[in-house]
């Protein structure tokens, strides 16, 4: 049930965008608009969360593990 709803949600979001010309994209380059503003911080947070919870990943391929308890 969730998967069809997720697909519909994605399709609606992607089709509902206005065309933004290249010279109108300056705001999108601001630091707060990046997907990862601090890669070292994101990496450490992901590692800690994965070592304390049963789920991990979702933002890329999984990579290797560690013996973190």
């Amino acid at each position: 049930m969730l998967k069809p709803l997720a697909c519909l949600f994605v399709a609606l979001c992607l089709s509902g965008c206005e065309t933004v010309q290249p010279w109108e994209r300056g705001t999108l380059a601001k630091p707060g608009m990046q997907w990862q503003t601090d890669p070292m911080e994101i990496s450490l947070q992901a590692q800690i969360n994965a070592s304390k919870e049963a789920s991990s990943g979702g933002q890329g391929a999984a990579g290797g593990g560690c013996g973190c308890n």
């Binding site: 997907w35 503003t37 911080e41 800690i48 969360n49 890329g60 391929a61």
Partner: protein, 385 residues
């Protein structure tokens, strides 16, 4: 309204850089770095002691970890860059060994007793090639501990649509992990073993408006081999695990008060019966020209694995009393501050993570071993302009 016909020189400069801006951005934008960048972080991670009422033998200290991270990004040609990341950790403390039944019938945790000491060193090397409408990277990671050795390789790429409004991304990875538990204060459930992890991810991102961007991703991970925790007394898990994760993210910039909303959500599901929801929210506030104040919050809720029980039934095929496989909810709140001073940047972060079974959206027995922690980080970055 501006258009191509009335572009001034300054606007042309902006246009040139904006043309390189992809809808999807990973660690770096599509344009290769122009300067060498160096970064370091020191982090202190401290878990709360396990409450005396939840343990046999009274209050028990849990993990303390010191972590140091180093990052180097260097252009090696016009369209080619290399990144090296090194992370070193020193950990000490005790972890839950098993859960037993107290005289009043409730579950209580037995800790591993003597303090565990371990260090971990991780080295990651990434080479990335930038082409007209995207980039591709190859990454190798080696992680080494006294009792754990992991080698992983990953390949990723992204490709922008002709109008630059949409970016399609993908990544694959594989790893081989070897486990050789340290024989110490508690007996382990294996002497030597291994596991393999394979993963694939696809993503699409899209510019929604002049000040908003959205992305979606789908990940699949397959684990095979020894997936049991070697240091847990009552732990025997299946030798395979299939995981799926759907994620979405949104960024919206507000001209007043010169800040950006960052929202990310992930739904996770696997064939062990675990499902989870994760919501991350952050507000990226610009103050003056060189200061950023970033409060953030995270909500996490997971449902327990099919074979989890507080008092494990060791007659079953699979069993575990590991709190990480139980149902619980977790809330993180924190603050990150970044100050730019010339070519230098100083970063400081503090966060608090708390768990409770009643905070989750899934029902289940509350594990007595749930963990709360504090984490502080301090960092310096330098760009060789």
């Amino acid at each position: 309204m501006s258009g191509p016909a009335d572009k001034r020189p300054t606007l042309l400069a902006l246009t040139s850089s904006a043309l390189l801006l992809p809808a999807y951005q990973g660690v770096r934008a599509d344009a290769a770095p122009e300067f060498i960048e160096l970064g370091m972080r020191y982090s202190k991670y401290e878990e709360d002691n396990t409450q005396g009422s939840k343990t046999f033998g009274g209050s028990s200290q849990r993990y303390d970890i010191d972590a140091a991270q180093f990052h180097l990004l260097a252009p090696v040609a016009d369209n080619w860059a290399v990144a090296v990341d090194v992370q070193w950790e020193d950990m000490s403390g005790a972890s839950p060994w098993f859960v037993g039944q107290s005289l009043d019938g409730g579950p209580k945790v037995i800790m591993s007793g003597a303090s565990i000491e371990d260090t971990r060193t991780e080295v990651s090397v990434t080479t990335r090639y930038y082409y007209d409408r995207g980039n591709a990277g190859l990454n190798y990671v080696r992680s080494k501990e006294d009792d754990y050795d992991s080698n992983a390789i990953a390949l990723d790429g992204s490709f922008n649509s002709a109008d630059g409004m949409t970016t399609y991304s993908g990544a694959i990875s594989t790893s081989r992990d070897d486990i050789e538990p340290t024989q110490g204060s508690v007996p382990t459930n294996t002497l030597k073993n291994d596991k393999d992890i394979s993963s694939a991810w696809i993503g699409v991102s899209r510019i929604v408006s002049k000040n908003a961007i959205v992305r979606f991703g789908l990940a699949y991970t397959y684990r095979e081999g020894f997936l049991t925790d070697p240091y847990k007394k009552n732990d025997k898990r299946p030798g395979e695990r299939n995981e799926w994760a759907f994620s979405t993210g949104y960024r919206h910039y507000f001209f007043w008060p010169d800040g950006a909303l960052q929202a990310d959500y992930r739904y996770f599901d696997d064939d062990w019966g675990v499902a989870s929801h994760t919501l991350n929210l952050a507000w990226h506030q610009n103050l003056w020209r060189d200061t950023q104040l970033i409060p953030f919050a995270r909500y996490y809720s997971q449902g327990e694995a099919d074979f989890f029980a507080n008092i494990a039934d060791t007659d079953k095929r699979y069993y575990a009393d590991d709190y990480r496989l139980s149902s619980f909810g977790a809330v993180t709140v924190g603050l990150r501050v970044r100050q730019q001073i010339g070519n230098w940047a100083i970063t400081a972060v503090g966060e608090r993570y708390e768990t409770d079974e009643s905070w989750g959206v899934y029902s289940g027995d509350e594990s007595p071993a749930l963990v709360n922690y504090w984490r502080y980080s301090f960092g310096l970055d330098y760009v060789f302009r």
